[in-house]
Structure formats: structure tokens, C-alpha cells
């Protein structure tokens, strides 16, 4: 009976560990999801209970381990790794920068008759709300494709906050965001292949001098480790009304935590147009100033207001 009980607890412990491991990887690699993080946390509590039973079942073996010299070696290794990960030197930060999860972010997108609302809270003291008021051309029955992303000061994509529900259609309707995403993914791939960090892979703006833009870790901009030395970044949206025969439009605003504003309106930047990079003949999407081809697209949104609560 005792043998069965021990097997039962050991298997439960091992299987709960598998769930913990998988949800841990998902929590690291995917944008924040309360389902994944909730499962990870709750299964963690179950795991702790099972470990207690597992320890009780194997107390004799464990006490023998505790008397060996290996104990001190394992304690040293774990203490060393804990300290190293907490200290977060460059290589560790580079690994963490690959995460799509900024932490306990709360991410909510809502399409309504009078516009769109997007909430994003990467931390308890940093709450963003983007309120897009519908304009005359806004048609809630055929909701517009919308992408919301963050860029660093060198105009490189660093994080997509919201992507269209239908990704294939959305990518075609929002070519500028799609281009930025592809560039970022390619740079990440090349960086991995060459063993470089992303900031070395992408060309940064060196012409203007000390532009602080070399990081591609969104946390460095939104929740900087050194609050006294924040780096500006941009929130960008691309929006397109299906069936209006006009290109998508891009709006953006610069966010500078060194000069914080509670409210900022996004400005219309332009519309994307496909070009070819002269040297490499690579596909290139560039923004152009809005011209006479636009009519209803200009009234798709009335205003886009970004609110940041930093308390």
C-alpha cells in the first residue's frame, strides 16, 4: 500500500512538474496570458504540496543526501545561479529580452460602436489606455483592422501590443506593421544565427549622436531598470477600414518617461507605400505624407488619445 502511495505521489509530482515546465516556457515566450500564468501559479501551489508529500515519502534517502559533501556543492550552485539571475548581467538580460511577456501585464482590447479601447498595464504602477474615438467613416459592422505596437527611438519595432484577429488578412491590410514585424523577426533570426544581441544586429541611429536607442527590450523603455535614465519610445497604430479602397493610415506618439504626460494625442504620420531598396532591391515600405487620394480614411478615427497612469 505504501509503495503504491509513493508511486502515486511521485507520478503526480512528475506530471505537475511537466505542466509547470510547459506553462513556464509559454509564459516566457508568449505575450501575457492570465490563463497560462494562472495555470502556472496554481499548479505551482499543487506542486509545492506534492513535493511536501514526496519529501515525507523519501525522508530517509533525503537525510542520507544531506549528510554527503554533495549537499554543499548543490547549495553553492543554486545560490550562485539565484544570485546570477537576480543580478541580471548583460547575457541574462539578452535572454530575458527575447521574452514576449513584460511581466504581469494586463492587456485588453475592445471594439465598440463609438471606437476602440485598448488597455495595457505592464506593471502595477504603469497603466496605458489608448482610446480611439470613431470618426464618420468608422463602420462597426465591418470593424477596421488595427495593429498597435511599440518602436524604439530608431524606429525599430520592439513589441506588438495588439495584432488583428485575422492575422493573414490583417497583415495584408496593414502592410507597414507587417513590414516592421518581418524586419524585427529577421533581425532576431540573424542575431541568433550570428550569436549577436539584437542591438548589434540592427543599425542604430548614430548620426544624431547620443540617441539612446540601442535596446530592443521593451522593458528598458516602459519599465526601465534605472528610472532616472529612461529612454523615449513610440506607440504606433496602423488602421485600415476594409472596403474603402484607400491605404491604411499610421498614427503615432512619442512617450518620454523623462518628460511624462498623462494625456497625449496621437498624430497622423502618413500612409505606407511599397518601394524597393535601391541597393539590395529588397522590399521596403515607407511612409508618405497623406495626399489628395484620401477622403473617408481621414475620418475613420476622430482622435486617438493615449493616457498613461504612472502611479
Amino acid at each position: 500500500m505504501k509503495k503504491h502511495q509513493r508511486s502515486f505521489v511521485s507520478l503526480l509530482t512528475a506530471l505537475s512538474f511537466v505542466v509547470l515546465a510547459v506553462t513556464g516556457i509559454l509564459a516566457f515566450a508568449r505575450p501575457f496570458s492570465i490563463e497560462v500564468v494562472g495555470l502556472h501559479a496554481l499548479m505551482g501551489f499543487v506542486f509545492v504540496g506534492l513535493i511536501a508529500l514526496h519529501v515525507a515519502n523519501n525522508l530517509n534517502h533525503l537525510s542520507q543526501y544531506m549528510r554527503t559533501k554533495v549537499l554543499w556543492l548543490t547549495l553553492t550552485i543554486i545560490a550562485g545561479l539565484t544570485g546570477f539571475f537576480l543580478w541580471q548581467p548583460g547575457p541574462i538580460r539578452s535572454i530575458l529580452a527575447l521574452s514576449q511577456n513584460l511581466g504581469p501585464a494586463i492587456d485588453q482590447f475592445e471594439m465598440k460602436d463609438d471606437g476602440l479601447v485598448y488597455h495595457y498595464s505592464p506593471g502595477p504602477h504603469y497603466k496605458m489606455a489608448l482610446t480611439i474615438r470613431a470618426g464618420k467613416a468608422f463602420d462597426a459592422t465591418k470593424p477596421p483592422h488595427v495593429a498597435i505596437w511599440l518602436e524604439n527611438a530608431s524606429f525599430y519595432h520592439i513589441k506588438t501590443l495588439h495584432e488583428p484577429d485575422d492575422l493573414a488578412v490583417g497583415r495584408a491590410a496593414l502592410p507597414y506593421w507587417d513590414f516592421k514585424i518581418r524586419g524585427w523577426e529577421e533581425a532576431k533570426r540573424k542575431a541568433q544565427e550570428s550569436g549577436k544581441v539584437l542591438s548589434e544586429q540592427l543599425e542604430v541611429d548614430g548620426v544624431s549622436g547620443a540617441t539612446q536607442n540601442s535596446s530592443f527590450d521593451p522593458a528598458d523603455y516602459i519599465l526601465p531598470a534605472d528610472p532616472d535614465n529612461p529612454m523615449p519610445y513610440r506607440l504606433v497604430i496602423e488602421i485600415d477600414q476594409p472596403g474603402d479602397d484607400q491605404p491604411s493610415l499610421v498614427y503615432s506618439v512619442e512617450i518620454d518617461n523623462a518628460a511624462p504626460y498623462a494625456f497625449q494625442l496621437l498624430d497622423l504620420v502618413g500612409y505606407p507605400k511599397r518601394e524597393e531598396d535601391g541597393k539590395n532591391r529588397k522590399e521596403l515600405w515607407t511612409l508618405y505624407f497623406v495626399d489628395e487620394q484620401f477622403d473617408s480614411a481621414l475620418t475613420l478615427i476622430d482622435s486617438a488619445l493615449l493616457t498613461i497612469d504612472r502611479n
Binding site: 544624431s208 547620443a210 498624430d267 502618413g270 515607407t286 508618405y288
Partner: protein, 423 residues
């Protein structure tokens, strides 16, 4: 076979002679010949000029001001302490003037743009597409061939009837009944200029300073940029040069400028020795960012600048981020969409003065506004406006500030400039 005393025979002689002639021919083909015009009374050190408009300084604002004054019918003389026109664009090597556009349309045109466009076209270069949204402000700076630009500026001066006096600088300025007497000195030349109007385009408002009008100066100057090229190809009119920040670079006077230039060159030499690369290009002097600014009838504040205030007496546009360079570099603050700053005529007039107007980076402005106003395209716009105002004032026997604004605007438009306000 007959050998001569040197041991060479006739055939050797003919061969070496032919080769020598061919070599000499090659050398001759690489040298072309022109003859400079004879300067009347060249041996006489003292010369006198009677002109309507004297432009002091042939930099970004000065050469445009002179061409404009000449084209508008004023007898014009330009004195320049260096050996060519163009200033920062040519002597400084910042051969990428900007910005002529804002938010998808051109806002500065006229003579400055004419020169830029012509030098790019002659050089087979490419003009930026102003319909594109530049991600970074400098993307719409126009790469020009600095050498062509300087020559074209001279050509346009000549076509406009402007007399150029290089290597000269004013030593004394005296008020007269109908204007000014300005004594300039160059090597072997003492020039006395009697003029109705002075356009001070010296960058640091040197003539204004000589006249004792108040000027503004910061405790510390922004660093200058010394431009050079180490190693790779020097793609003239295509690529920017390497730049070296010369901290403390100060063009206040010849001594401070000398120090800045020598510091820059010494540093470049150290890099050549360290990096063991060939020095492919070196500008003759530092590009200076600030020295003195005038205290004008109006002072452009950074709020005026960033809000795109349209002054009642606006005579040209300006467009550039607030761009204050410091010891740690620069973080340009772009202007908000749709905002295009303007420059009022009264910011070009030293407070309480008559018959003198400035153009260029010495425009009356606070330091942050000046960090955006000081760039070449804006200076060219100011230069053209100053050329018009000075010419009209000289013709009507008044001072630039009293010339009706409608007349200034009309003449500017006639000469291709874009004027703020209604067309």
C-alpha cells in the same frame, strides 16, 4: 654602331627622347591653362567702393543675401574672410544642407534652393522626395557636392553683378549721413566701402558687435564638428564625412577659431597614427555651431519656435528639430506635426539700429530656438529676406524695418521664395 660619350647610341637616344616627350605630353594633358583677369591697380593697396549694399560674410546666409541684392538691382559687394563662398556647406564641409521641407511640402526655396538643386543636378545626385515621411530629420538633408556648390555660388554672384572680396574683413565701421563707411583689410588690400546698408552675415554678428549693439552669448558654446574622412572612399556629394566633436569650439574671434581648428586637426592626426588608415579628406576648418546672437527688436523664443508661431512680420520659414549639442551628444527634439516656425524681420534687426540687418545663426533668439534656427536652409531663407529688405531700404532711403512688409513679400515671391502667410 656609333656610341656617344655617355655610351648611348642614336637609337637609344631616339627611344628615350620619344618616351620623354610622351611623358611630358602626358604631364601636359593633365594641366589645363586659364588666365586670371588683370586686377586694375593691383599694386595699389588702397581701394574704395561705393555700393548700395555691403554683405559681410559669404556663408549660408551671406552669399544668398548678396545674390538677392544684386538681382534686385542693388550695387552689391560681399566681403568674406575665407577663400570661397558657402561657409558651413563648403568650408565647414557640412555639405548636406537642410531642411527645405516640412510635413510633405517645401517651405524654403528661392536662391538657396536654386543653388542646392543646381549643384545636385550638375553632380548627377539625387534630391530627396519631400512627399516621404522622414523617419529621422536628417533624411531630407540634401547631399551636395561642396566644391561645385562654392563655384556655382560665385557664378551666380557674378551673374547678379555682385563684387566679391575674399580674404578681407571689416576693421572699422563708421556711421555716415546716408549709411556707413566700412574699412576692410585683407592681405595687400585696404578697402574703404561706403554703403547705404550693411547685411551682417558673419555668423557671430561681428559688425553688430563693432558698432556696440548688445549681443547674446552663452557661458559655454556647443561643440563644433570637424569633418574628415579616414580610410574609405570619399564619396563627394553622396555621403557624409566622419565627424569629430570639438568641444569648446568657439568662433568668437580668430584666436578661439585657431585653437578649435588646431585641436581638431591634432586629434585627426592622432587617429591616423593610431588607426593606421589613410587620411582621405580634411576640411580646412571646424563647423562652428554658435557664438554670438544679436539682441534684436524681437527675440524668437523656443516656444515661438516649437509652436510654429506665425509672426506678424514673418519673412521666411525655418524647419529643424530643437537640436542643442552638448558634451554628451545631442538628442534632437522634433517639432510637432504641422508646426513650421517662422522668422520675423524684426528678429534680424539689432535693437535700436538703423541701416543694418543680420541674417544667419546670429538671429535674435534664445539658445534653444537658435539650436533649430541655425541650420543652413533657414539661414539661406533669412539671407534672401535680408537681401530684399536691405535693397528696398537702400533704394527708398530708409531702414529695413521701415520697408513695407508687402513690398518685401512681393519681391521675395518674385525671386522664388516661399513666404509665410497668405500668398
Amino acid at each position: 654602331m656609333n656610341k656617344n660619350e655617355n655610351g648611348t647610341d642614336r637609337r637609344d637616344f631616339l627611344q628615350s627622347g620619344l618616351l620623354g616627350t610622351a611623358a611630358a605630353g602626358l604631364a601636359i594633358t593633365s594641366t589645363s591653362h586659364v588666365t586670371a583677369q588683370t586686377v586694375p591697380d593691383a599694386a595699389e593697396p588702397e581701394v574704395t567702393n561705393e555700393v548700395d549694399v555691403l554683405v559681410v560674410g559669404g556663408g549660408s546666409a551671406g552669399h544668398v543675401a548678396a545674390i538677392q541684392a544684386g538681382r534686385a538691382g542693388a550695387k552689391t559687394l560681399i566681403v568674406e574672410r575665407n577663400s570661397q563662398l558657402g561657409g558651413t556647406t563648403t568650408t565647414g564641409g557640412v555639405a548636406f544642407p537642410g531642411l527645405f521641407d516640412a510635413w510633405g511640402k517645401q517651405v524654403i526655396a528661392g536662391i538657396g534652393w536654386e543653388l542646392v538643386k543646381e549643384s545636385v543636378e550638375l553632380d548627377g545626385g539625387q534630391l530627396p522626395n519631400f512627399a516621404r515621411v522622414p523617419q529621422r530629420h536628417w533624411e531630407n538633408q540634401v547631399h551636395v557636392n561642396q566644391f561645385l556648390y562654392a563655384i556655382l555660388a560665385e557664378e551666380k554672384c557674378a551673374q547678379a553683378g555682385v563684387e566679391i572680396a575674399y580674404y578681407e574683413f571689416p576693421q572699422a565701421v563708421t556711421k555716415t549721413d546716408d549709411g556707413w563707411q566700412v574699412d576692410c583689410v585683407g592681405f595687400g588690400t585696404k578697402r574703404r566701402v561706403r554703403c547705404k546698408q550693411i547685411i551682417d552675415c558673419t555668423g557671430g554678428a561681428e559688425v553688430v558687435g563693432m558698432l556696440g549693439f548688445p549681443r547674446l552669448r552663452e557661458e559655454e558654446r556647443q561643440p563644433g564638428s570637424y569633418l574628415f574622412m579616414l580610410g574609405g572612399e570619399r564619396a563627394i556629394g553622396r555621403k557624409q564625412l566622419h565627424r569629430l566633436y570639438v568641444h569648446g569650439a568657439d568662433s568668437t574671434n580668430s584666436r578661439t577659431a585657431t585653437e578649435a581648428n588646431m585641436t581638431g586637426r591634432k586629434s585627426v592626426l592622432a587617429r591616423v597614427r593610431k588607426e593606421k588608415k589613410r587620411l582621405m579628406h580634411l576640411q580646412p576648418e571646424t563647423g562652428f555651431r554658435e557664438s554670438y546672437r544679436i539682441q534684436g527688436e524681437t527675440l524668437i523664443s523656443v516656444n515661438d519656435y516649437t509652436s510654429g508661431r506665425v509672426f506678424d512680420d514673418a519673412i521666411s520659414y525655418a524647419f529643424y528639430p530643437v537640436d542643442l549639442h552638448t558634451k554628451t551628444g545631442v538628442r534632437p527634439k522634433p517639432l510637432k506635426p504641422g508646426k513650421v516656425p517662422t522668422i520675423p524681420l524684426s528678429a534680424l534687426i539689432p535693437k535700436g539700429s538703423r541701416n543694418i540687418i543680420v541674417a544667419g545663426r546670429c538671429v535674435s533668439s534664445d539658445r534653444l530656438a537658435n539650436s533649430g534656427l541655425r541650420v543652413q536652409a533657414s539661414c539661406m531663407g533669412m539671407g534672401q529676406a535680408a537681401g530684399v529688405a536691405a535693397t528696398l531700404a537702400a533704394k527708398s532711403g530708409t531702414t529695413p524695418l521701415e520697408v513695407p512688409l508687402t513690398e518685401i513679400h512681393a519681391l521675395l515671391r518674385e525671386h522664388g521664395q516661399i513666404v509665410p502667410g497668405k500668398a
